[in-house]
């Protein structure tokens, strides 16, 4: 009796100590990312050299994660953020903003598809709703551009609720066809509304930001726009990853894996399917607002079925299970749809759509779980997670 008692007494504090240690590591994981971003920006502001800034950020992320023992994943996040902060000095800030727009929209589909297992071809129209909200409020009612963002998110979410209530009752291919119907009718609907939304020509807007000077670095308006979009994307990332890790996220995945079992365990299937639709459309609304501001114009034809397919391709190629997959997919889709303006093969200029289609098919046939699934598979096998 006494032996058993002793054992259990000594076990409980040990378990608590382990748990406390794990929590403290979890709390410190944000530090490498922050240090690396701050150092990248500081190096950039003092030297005005994008290469130095990137090296500083990468080294900082690597060293901090090593010293604090927060693991390779936190170092990767730090390196990625250093790259994101540094990128507009090396590449076109406008293009990078478009990648962020694609990524935020694709994250909506990660919630919808990767978490609750729904397929929506209506992401393009939802982005359109956000973009048009910003455009109409600013051009017709004189609302400052930045102030239209909350409205774009809310109206996107309402559109998601309106479409989500009927279409979340349908499964698989029937849901695809319903949302495809939405995607096809959205541009014609805008044309039918006509003048208030600018008809077939759309609406133009002024630039939301002015040039800025930070240290020895001068930022042009598109670069400021990019940093604003990056901040929005970070907020969405943190919010969505918290939802995915929360009880709500577990419930959503339960709905995806087996609706009957989820329902038996007291999870309201329709509630989670509809809320994920709303969440996904809210992301799309934000993406649309950013897109409208950075492009400076909206037109009905840009938000139809082909645009929806871009978001679907982003999650299909990048990996539908994680936000990282959505981001990688967004980069891939942007690269595929813009970088090839006709590939010369045997004297014929092959349309970039051919490469786009082939890559989609190949990625789906070859990669299980998308690009991020492949990358994280390699990472896991090389650096398996150890119990600390």
């Amino acid at each position: 009796m006494s032996a058993a008692n002793l054992e259990s007494k000594s076990r409980v504090p040990a378990a608590r100590r382990t748990a406390a240690h794990l929590r403290s590591v979890a709390r410190r994981t944000w530090i490498p990312a922050t240090v690396s971003v701050v150092l990248t920006l500081a190096t950039m502001a003092t030297t005005a050299n994008a290469g130095f800034a990137l090296i500083a950020g990468v080294v900082a992320a690597f060293l901090t994660s090593r010293v604090l023992g927060t693991g390779p994943q936190s170092a990767l996040v730090g390196i990625a953020l250093a790259g994101a902060v540094d990128a507009p000095f090396a590449y076109s800030a406008f293009n990078l903003t478009q990648i962020l727009v694609l990524a935020i929209g694709a994250w909506g589909l990660v919630i919808l598809g990767g978490q609750t297992g729904q397929i929506s071809v209506a992401q393009g129209p939802f982005v359109g709703v956000g973009a048009y909200t910003t455009a109409v409020l600013s051009a017709r009612f004189g609302v400052p551009l930045l102030a239209t963002i909350p409205a774009a998110v809310v109206i996107g979410a309402i559109a998601g609720l309106l479409i989500g209530i009927p279409s979340s009752r349908l499964r698989g291919i029937y849901q695809v066809i319903t949302t495809l119907a939405v995607a096809v009718s959205f541009p014609t609907l805008l044309l039918a509304i006509g003048d208030p939304v600018g008809g077939s020509t759309g609406i133009a807007m002024p630039e939301p930001f002015q040039a800025a000077q930070v240290g020895s670095v001068s930022l042009d308006p598109t670069q400021v726009m990019y940093f604003f979009a990056l901040a929005c994307a970070l907020v969405v990332w943190v919010a969505l990853s918290r939802i995915i890790k929360s009880r709500h996220g577990t419930a959503m995945r339960a709905v995806r894996q087996n609706e009957v079992v989820a329902a038996v365990n007291g999870i309201s299937v329709s509630h989670y399917r509809i809320t994920s639709f709303v969440l996904s459309a809210a992301c799309a609304g934000l993406a649309g607002s950013i897109s409208a501001m950075s492009v400076g114009a909206v037109s009905p034809d840009s938000f139809g079925m082909l645009y929806s397919i871009q978001f679907l391709v982003a999650v299909a190629v990048g990996g539908a299970d994680s936000l990282m997959g959505g981001l990688l997919g967004a980069i891939a889709v942007f690269w595929l749809t813009t970088s090839f303006s006709g590939i010369p093969i045997g004297g014929v200029q092959v349309s970039n759509e051919v490469a786009y289609g082939l890559v989609i098919i190949l990625a789906l046939v070859v990669l299980e779980g998308g690009l991020w699934g492949a990358v994280s598979g390699v990472v896991e096998s090389r650096w398996p997670k150890r119990a600390t």
Binding site: P166, G172, I173, I177, A192, E353, I361, L364, V365
Partner: protein, 292 residues
């Protein structure tokens, strides 16, 4: 009377919608895939037909036969190399594969041919036929007749040939069919071949009516999907009736002044959503669809 003229003119397009809808149903019954690329594949084969007619100088009927063969071959290749290995993958992957094919074939059409519309030769030339105050062009009669003939031919293949029996057996009970020596993949490949061949014919008919362009099939696919939902994804007869019905409804909607052409498509898609929610198996379907 103007309305009646619109309805009669719409029936020609309706025959094409029915043809494409039937192709969708055959592929869905065989492999459980809704081929969203059906329209783009048909556009591509129609461009090949145009090449044969305009550059090589073949006759219309010979071209039709060649295009049927070529489309069937395209269907078999797509099935064997892309769809067959993926059939056991999640539905999302299969849907995305058809969207990938959509982009691929749209890209191929845009690569080899100028995307601007061009006229496509008619099977027959002649003055329009006048019945009362209704005009019917001879070509639209022939186009409609070809579409209906193809559909009848297909029904006959399903009903009276050994291939059709095998196909029906495989879709009805795959394992029982395998036991009696039918190879399912052959039947599925045949299903895809028939479907793309029908799409090829439908593309030629439609190009004759509306002019050939890379985006020609965009609306047709939507209308065919609407037809399929109304008729039931499982029902060939439903697809044909749905295709004709949807063309007439679209014509009526467009001619009503308070709806107009702009709102006709969204309105029909609202009908689709209502049909899916109220009667997901469609008017002619039996099996319960994906509504839980």
């Amino acid at each position: 009377m103007l309305l009646l003229q619109d309805v009669v003119s719409a029936l020609g397009a309706g025959a094409v919608y029915a043809l494409v809808a039937l192709a969708l149903v055959i592929v869905f019954r065989a492999t459980g895939v809704v081929n969203f690329a059906a329209g783009e594949i048909a556009t591509f084969t129609t461009f090949v037909a145009w090449e044969l007619l305009a550059d090589v100088g073949l006759g219309f009927w010979l071209t039709l036969v060649i295009v049927v063969g070529f489309s069937a071959l395209v269907g078999v290749v797509i099935y064997l190399f892309i769809m067959h290995p993926a059939l056991k993958k999640p539905e999302f992957v299969i849907v995305m594969l058809t969207f990938g094919l959509f982009e691929l074939f749209n890209g191929l059409s845009n690569t080899f041919w100028d995307p601007s519309p061009r006229s496509f030769p008619a099977p027959v030339e002649g003055p329009p036929i006048v019945i009362g105050s209704i005009f019917i062009t001879q070509e639209s009669i022939v186009d409609g007749a070809i579409a209906i003939l193809i559909m009848l031919l297909l029904m006959a293949i399903f009903r009276y040939t050994k291939l059709g029996l095998g196909f029906r057996a495989t879709t009805d009970n795959r394992f029982a069919a395998e036991v009696v020596g039918i190879r399912p993949w052959q039947m599925y490949a045949a299903g895809w071949a028939m479907a793309t061949a029908m799409g090829g014919v439908g593309g030629m008919m439609l190009a004759n009516m509306l002019g050939l362009s890379a985006s020609m099939m965009g609306n047709v696919l939507v209308f065919a999907l609407v037809a399929v939902i109304i008729g039931g994804l499982e029902s060939p007869l439903g697809a044909v009736v749905g295709g004709l019905l949807i063309a007439v409804v679209a014509a009526v909607f467009s001619s009503l002044s308070f709806i107009g052409t702009d709102l006709a498509t969204p309105l029909m898609l609202v009908i689709v959503i209502i049909v899916l929610l109220v009667r997901p198996s469609g008017l002619f379907g039996q099996r319960k669809a994906g509504l839980l």
